[in-house]
């Protein structure tokens, strides 16, 4: 417990220290203040973007998009991973393609999504979902494949039905890998969601960052980016809590 507190204090102190250093470098003229605004100015801009730019509503909107993309990733991605595990032929046929999908810069395909779903939240959610799909499928598959044979033998020795073998052994054994996949997917989804909001000038924090950049309101823009970071912190924390709840001693 004590080391946990120490780690948090050390983390926060490092951040504050880095900000102070940037502040000092800018004030000393080592960094151009027209490119990077003073951290103190960024912090001071927060109340303004809350009042005038409704950043909290946009934070909510981006979070909701990430949430929808996550739900789709769980509902579609995990079953697809399970399917590739079950069907050997499907795995042989598609695993490489899914791997290639993970590396594809899907965000560049936003015009196609615009044609399909219009300039709407659906486009943003679907791009986020598509960007995160590959890691969920691949890590689910990896978790299932790497389940130790002896655990399956235990299940067989107790005459588990195929469904019990899946729900009582395979799935809990694969859960840590599934969560690694979900965390990676969330990172990809979030980057793409904010990126597409920026590109199509629609929706939550990405659009706000775009607008503030175009107005050359640099402190405001950096302050808005802080809220993007906050979305990722919230989702990272939520997945960690969910994992601890589902698998207390992973």
């Amino acid at each position: 417990m004590r080391s946990d507190v120490q780690a948090r204090v050390a983390g926060a102190a490092t951040l504050v220290g880095a900000l102070c250093l940037v502040e000092a470098l800018i004030r000393a003229g080592a960094i151009n203040r027209f490119v990077v605004p003073l951290p103190s100015q960024i912090l001071a801009a927060i109340p303004r973007i809350v009042d005038e730019e409704h950043v909290l509503a946009r934070f909510g909107q981006t979070s909701l998009e990430v949430l929808w993309a996550s739900v789709l990733l769980v509902v579609v991605g995990i079953p697809l991973g399970v399917l590739l595990h079950r069907l050997r032929i499907a795995r042989a046929a598609f695993e490489t393609w899914v791997g290639a999908l993970a590396a594809a810069p899907l965000v560049l395909m936003y015009p196609l999504f615009l044609v399909l779903f219009g300039r709407s939240t659906t486009t943003i959610v679907m791009i986020g979902f598509a960007a995160g799909l590959a890691p969920v499928i691949l890590k689910t598959l990896e978790g299932l494949v790497s389940t130790r044979e002896v655990l399956l033998d235990v299940g067989r020795s107790f005459r588990l039905t195929p469904r019990q073998q899946f729900t009582k052994i395979l799935l809990p054994a694969a859960l840590p890998a599934v969560f690694v996949g979900m965390r990676l997917a969330l990172i990809f989804a979030m980057i793409n969601i904010v990126g597409v909001e920026f590109l199509i000038n629609f929706g939550g924090l990405g659009q706000l960052v775009n607008e503030l950049a175009e107005r050359y309101d640099l402190p405001g823009m950096y302050a808005a980016i802080l809220f993007v970071v906050a979305v990722s912190v919230v989702f990272y924390d939520l997945t960690a809590r969910l994992e601890r709840w589902l698998r207390p001693n992973g």
Partner: protein, 276 residues
Amino acid sequence: MADAPAQDGALLAIAHITKRFTARDGDVLAVDDFSFDVAEGEFVSIIGPSGCGKSTLFNIVGGLIGDYSGSVTVAGERITATHPAIGMVFQEESTFPWRTVVDNVAFPLEIAGVARGERLSRAAHFVAMVGLAGFETRYPNELSGGMRQRVAIARTLASQPRILLMDEPFAALDEQTRVLLGDKVQKIQQALKQTTLLITHNLTEAVQLSDRVLVMTYRPGRLKRVVNIHLPHPRSAEIVESEAFGHYVAEIWRDLREEANRGIEDTEARAREHAK
């Protein structure tokens, strides 16, 4: 070749088991015409060198391997797949890391549909039996290797099998822990009058625990000799110091040494062949 004397009313009867595997360099005869019986309440060990087909035999008796000739019968009933009468304990660490000790032990009861309250109290009884009272809510990664293996034994005992089938359950443990755990297993076996078949390569363990020891030849696995162990029960860990104990160990070792040597020579020959 020896014959294990057939027992009247044997609970477990293994008759003429032969198992062949197809390997890259041709067929391998893993087990050849292996027959023996285990009577109700008896503790029988099968001892043999590494690679003699012990684990194959374990998997056949447990019903995990089909496709063999011969038969396995429990109380007259022919068994061709896993069966509730046979509870298996595996050599590898097999506790579920996501379940607490008591939830691990309650696993077979959960599968059998026993209500949560009842299965937890029944599981707690078996946890205490293997000496892990107080550790019910711990997770396997908080326990030592020996403790985890005891959890696996308790889990199998909780399913109340008529025959406890164990494959080198203490192989990964150090010798001292092994002897002390053997003491515990022996007490449990005596208390439950649990019919047990133990697969092992450890001489001390075989003599300490068994009523009968079957010595297996190295590849193909055949029954070489049967040694009846006439040591009094209960056998505590101190029995390993006794003269009679040493006599049995020496007697079995004489048979085993030859097989172990053949095993080593064969493994080295294959390694040389592989390196060419």
